[in-house]
Symmetry: C2
Subunit: 205 residues, 2 copies
């Protein structure tokens, strides 16, 4: 079964074992001959794919009543995979969603690693530092690189930890954030497990 | 006594009573005939002003030993004005600095309101919302505007509040942040009070 999660920058494929990415800019979905089950937060891609018979949008098969109408489908699917915990999906944006007893308790959106780096850089060249993931989050910083790194990471850390729940880390920047959420379960394919669940439910109807 | 705090976007003047701003792009410092005591994080402006006799840089008269070499002079001066508390300076960046018994305990840099809004917008048009400062920070959001607003404000709020100290709010976006830090002391001219202290010290030497 071929699955695909389409974001603002890439088509992320998963064949059940391995995953790979194709750029939104260069990938032509017509080149795929097999059946692909997909979710997409990218409205442009969605429009193209709606005309291709072998691309099946999973959106209509999701129960949005537990969520809210404008919530990204990737967040909804991720939440469907767990019963309890905090899901951090670290992509272009970092979404943080809380699930308790299978119910969505709410979530927030924080800028992704790259976006935040650009953000600091755009304010001033004096803030153009790579983030230091080894920065000690227990001590208020006394140097510029850590002042930025702490500003980005510590607030996120505090807000996630206060839920005192299992942490699931996914998305392209999960390995980076794993340095600060060292006890988190890193699952590159969390979203795809949610998609697999939905497809199996469909196939067994 | 005319004071001026120069940032990346504007010259901020204070005559002891009133303050006003001039854009870095259009203001010509040669047009000022009176003596101006200034601080600047803007290296380009600093270069121009070093050639003008009536513009007096306060940087050499500051004791940086309590701080760190690349720390913005505006932050240093703000810290010099208080004995205990957390200073939030909400400009292009939001700097948060902690002072205890007159000693700098460290600080961090968070993106400013405008920079953060641009940051979300650049990630996706779907995240292009104005921040909702009335957003309930006690409840995990269940709508897009609050998911962004909470992502920006709640982490900042948590990180400031944990110091359990008096909060001093300054900078152009202080009125906005006052909505979430309702007990903070808003002091538009905090920095200038620090500058006044330094000038008085100089004059009495």
């Amino acid at each position: 079964m071929m699955l695909c999660d389409i974001g603002n920058t890439s088509y992320h494929f998963f064949d059940g074992v391995r995953g790979y990415k194709k750029s939104v800019k260069s990938f032509n979905p017509v080149s795929m001959r097999e059946r692909v089950y997909y979710i997409s937060v990218n409205s442009h891609a969605k429009k193209i794919l709606s005309k291709l018979e072998n691309w099946i949008d999973l959106a209509p098969f999701l129960d949005y009543s537990k969520y809210y109408p404008t919530m990204g489908i990737d967040r909804v699917v991720a939440c469907e995979t767990i019963q309890n915990g905090v899901i951090i999906d670290a992509g272009s944006a970092i979404t943080v969603d809380v699930v308790r007893d299978g119910l969505f308790m709410g979530g927030f959106i924080y800028p992704g690693v790259r976006a935040m780096h650009e953000c600091y850089k755009n304010i001033s060249n004096a803030l153009d530092y790579p983030f230091n993931y080894e920065c000690d989050l227990d001590i208020m910083p006394k140097n510029s690189q850590d002042a930025i790194s702490y500003g980005f990471l510590k607030p996120l850390y505090m807000e996630v930890m206060r839920h005192d729940a299992e942490i699931y880390l996914t998305g392209g920047d999960a390995p980076k954030l794993h340095k600060i959420f060292s006890h988190a379960k890193v699952d590159e394919y969390l979203l795809f497990r949610g998609m697999q669940k939905i497809v199996h439910r469909l196939q067994n109807q």
